[in-house]
């Protein structure tokens, strides 16, 4: 189905927040290409954390061929791997068709422009923990990752599939760090209740 540049511009203009804008763009990409589009990475975390973990690029897992034509028709310009609309301060990174998380844990969000899929919160959490624990990075980024993990656990811990999370935590060797973060959030809640 064709999605005109005007429709996209109206959708973006109507979004009241960055996560909402990401949802609309993801839904319109899926609508325009007829292919499944899954929002992953930092932009997915931003949707789960209500925009409090900022990112300017929208990482989307979907077949690239049709999507490239679509983003081009919407006024995005290529910049290496990513497609950029400077006036919106948005980069779209089309990652190809391989989704590494669980399809059963995907969050589907129905928008006025059709459904959009967002990577499961368990997969996002495990990847952040794996990056924290196994990959050397800067102290600032490490701090960001740690805060993202804390917010994900605090806001979505109750809805997570514990069985699946335990499985991927073992696979990624992050059982210890996950346990510490969960303990930390439990303690914080208790501290707040005491106050």
């Amino acid at each position: 189905m064709t999605v005109s540049r005007t429709e996209v511009e109206n959708a973006v203009a109507s979004a009241r927040s960055k996560p909402e804008r990401t949802l609309y763009l993801g839904a319109l990409l899926e609508k325009a290409t007829g292919e499944e589009a899954i929002v992953v990475g930092g932009s997915a975390v931003e949707i789960y954390t209500s925009g409090r973990t900022s990112t300017n690029d929208i990482d989307v897992v979907m077949p690239r061929a049709k999507a490239l034509k679509v983003v081009k028709s919407w006024g995005f310009l290529p910049n290496g791997r990513v497609w950029r609309r400077k006036d919106w301060d948005v980069d779209i990174d089309l990652l190809g068709p391989n989704f590494t998380g669980s399809r059963l844990k995907i969050q589907v969000i129905s928008t006025p422009y059709g459904p959009v899929r967002v990577a499961g919160v368990e997969d996002l959490l495990a990847k952040r923990l794996a990056e924290l624990k196994h990959c050397p990075t800067t102290p600032l980024w490490r701090k960001d990752l740690a805060k993202q993990v804390e917010i994900l656990i605090s806001e979505h811990g109750n809805q997570m599939d514990d069985e699946y999370l335990a499985f991927i935590a073992r696979r990624d060797d992050v059982v210890d760090i996950l346990a510490d973060f969960r303990q930390r959030r439990r303690l914080s809640k208790t501290e707040r209740l005491r106050v």
């Binding site: 209500s50 990847k127 196994h134 210890d176």
Partner: protein, 145 residues
């Protein structure tokens, strides 16, 4: 494009339309109309009305002024873990309050966290190296500063 549902749940609950109906109701943060259940869940209207009537007769749903509510907490928890389907208005409602809670977490001191106590695993690092590497065209980030 329709979202897929876990075939095991279809076996347990007896029909895909029932799983979709229950999933939308379970993930809703407020009462939801049958019409909206159909749109969000990708279920035809006749099927939604028949499923809602059946689930309501079984005592699993209650009618409120603005729509239907799933009142069985066990089924709600199961569905929230297994089939995640919401609509944007509902998802984004309360965003400001959630953002405030997130701000509080960001402001908390992070002295408790000591990365040196964990032993990194180089094979996992190698496995994710490509995924975690930020391409230069995305510009600088706190990853590099």
């Amino acid at each position: 494009m329709k979202f897929g549902v876990d075939s095991r749940l279809v076996t347990v609950f007896g029909s895909e339309a029932r799983v979709r109906t229950l999933a939308v109701l379970a993930n809703a943060r407020r009462p939801i109309t049958a019409y909206r259940v159909g749109i969000v869940g990708g279920v035809s209207m006749p099927k939604v009305y028949s499923e809602i009537s059946r689930l309501s007769n079984a005592g699993l749903l209650e009618r409120r002024r603005n729509g239907w509510v799933l009142v069985d907490e066990d089924i709600r928890r199961l569905m929230q873990r297994r089939v995640r389907i919401s609509w944007s208005e509902d998802w984004l409602e309360g965003e400001r309050e959630r953002a405030r809670r997130a701000e509080r977490i960001i402001a908390e001191p992070d002295l408790w966290f000591d990365i040196s106590k964990y032993r990194s695993n180089s094979s996992i690092a190698a496995q994710y190296a490509k995924e975690f590497r930020r391409p230069p065209e995305k510009g600088p980030s706190r990853k590099h500063s």
